[in-house]
């Protein structure tokens, strides 16, 4: 350990989050005081962060980006703040007069006091405003999702795809509402709980090319969810496969349910 109370491999295990008790406490008490170990921990965090790449690729909806940028614009600092800054007075002689100092010094102290109070009040109001904006953003997001769901269900281009159980596979009854033009799908129904260390994964099967992951399905009743898919895709089916826990970038397991898009 060369004077450092941490085994080299423990940095990765700490970054992974599996350490507990004394092993975890040893790192947390030593690293803040040791730049060498802090760097080793930073490198371990970076290595472990690469595991994020093993998650099945799932693009965020365009709505998420729009909402972020709306939130950013709403929080943008007012340019008035910069204009409020004043240049220093260069008339040095003025401050040489004792009576001016006698008046101005207490006035400046008073102004600083008032400015401090106003700044605190402004910060409090800013925090309140940010909270209100966050709530508003959240409600706007829910409203957008409800509108998307309504548009999907009302569109004449939306098709209902019933996925049928495959012989010898776990039981399930899953339905996907799919609109190729909108690039949206909504899934509901139920499926038997998956075996240990396995997950169900929903796929859109294009007429050409590789299947596209449309999300993971928990066993039991499915809480309906919407998923964004490529727009205008010529697809022939939806399918559910049984994959290692957490899913795969491409299907590897047996097909549990399948339904053709007609």
């Amino acid at each position: 350990m060369n004077g450092h109370p941490i085994r080299p491999e423990d940095f990765d295990l700490y970054a992974l989050g599996v350490l507990e008790g004394q092993e975890k406490a040893a790192i947390e008490s030593h690293v803040p005081t040791c730049p060498e170990c802090a760097k080793k921990l930073a490198e371990a965090r970076g290595r472990i962060a690469l595991l994020a790449f093993s998650a099945p690729r799932l693009e965020p909806s365009p709505t998420a980006r729009e909402q972020l940028m709306r939130q950013v614009r709403a929080s943008a600092e007012s340019p008035e703040v910069q204009r409020a800054q004043r240049k220093p007075d260069r008339a040095g002689g003025f401050f040489g007069r004792w009576w001016a100092a006698a008046v101005l010094v207490p006035a400046c102290i008073l102004l600083l006091f008032v400015a401090g109070r106003l700044r605190n009040e402004n910060e409090r109001l800013s925090r309140d405003l940010a909270q209100e904006q966050a709530t508003l953003q959240q409600r706007q997001k829910q409203l957008d999702e409800a509108r998307h769901a309504q548009a999907l269900l009302e569109s004449k281009d939306t098709v209902s795809v019933a996925l049928a159980q495959q012989p010898g596979m776990p039981k399930g009854d899953v339905r996907v509402m799919y609109n190729s033009k909108m690039g949206m799908a909504m899934c509901d129904g139920w499926v038997e709980p998956a075996p240990a260390n396995k997950s169900y994964q929903l796929w859109l099967v294009p007429r050409e090319g590789k299947p596209i992951s449309a999300g993971m399905i928990e066993g039991g009743p499915i809480n309906p969810w919407m998923v964004k898919l490529p727009q205008g895709m010529a697809a022939k089916a939806f399918a559910v496969t049984l994959e290692p826990a957490g899913g795969m970038p491409q299907p590897t397991g047996p097909m549990v349910l399948v339904g053709p898009i007609t």
């Binding site: 491999e9 965090r45 290595r47 962060a49 690469l50 693009e59 993971m216 970038p249």
Partner: protein, 185 residues
């Protein structure tokens, strides 16, 4: 390939961060376009809830917007920092931990041993990570996934799988060493 050097590519994230400090919204949008897909995939894998994943995704980038001045690109990698923050918040939500668990990460340094600032580099790394995971045994991979995507500790994994604690510790330690070896890190 873009022809840019590693230094120029690192500077690219750094330059965008600097523009965010100057309140340039387009710089934030550029970083979002660069890394949102990676974070969205991670968050959906952890939470299995598209709405919750997008809430955290938005929250992480908004935190970057609000605190960009505190992020020092010279001390670490932006995608690494974003990934660590996103995972921490998702695991906190999944396990009903206090959201404040993630706040200290503003000071967290993350050094990613690869350049992730363009799509090609991300695709290449994706292939390497997938290959390294495929080299693990089924039990090793399951244990790593329980730790990384569900935030379980050694003893929690032992409890979940029914395996002895010592077996789980050895399995994870060996798996991590294998990943480091196969990723050439």
């Amino acid at each position: 390939m873009s022809g840019q050097t590693g230094t120029e590519l690192r500077a690219s994230d750094a330059a965008l961060i600097q523009k965010i400090v100057q309140r340039d919204e387009s710089a934030l949008a550029a970083l979002y376009d660069r890394y949102a897909s990676l974070l969205s995939s991670l968050l959906n894998r952890i939470l299995r809830d598209t709405q919750a994943a997008e809430e955290i995704l938005q929250d992480v980038f908004f935190q970057l917007w609000m605190n960009a001045a505190q992020f020092d690109p010279a001390r670490g990698s932006l995608p690494g920092w974003l990934t660590v923050i996103a995972r921490n918040r998702a695991i906190s939500r999944l396990r009903r931990h206090s959201p404040s668990d993630g706040e200290e990460l503003l000071e967290t340094m993350v050094i990613v041993p690869a350049n992730l600032e363009n799509t090609i580099a991300q695709q290449q790394l994706l292939g390497r990570v997938k290959g390294a995971l495929e080299n693990l045994s089924t039990e090793q991979r399951a244990a790593i996934e329980l730790a990384y995507f569900e935030g379980l500790t050694h003893s929690e994994i032992a409890s979940r799988t029914g395996d002895p604690l010592g077996t789980v510790k050895t399995r994870i330690r060996t798996a991590v060493e294998s990943l480091k070896r196969n990723l050439l890190l």
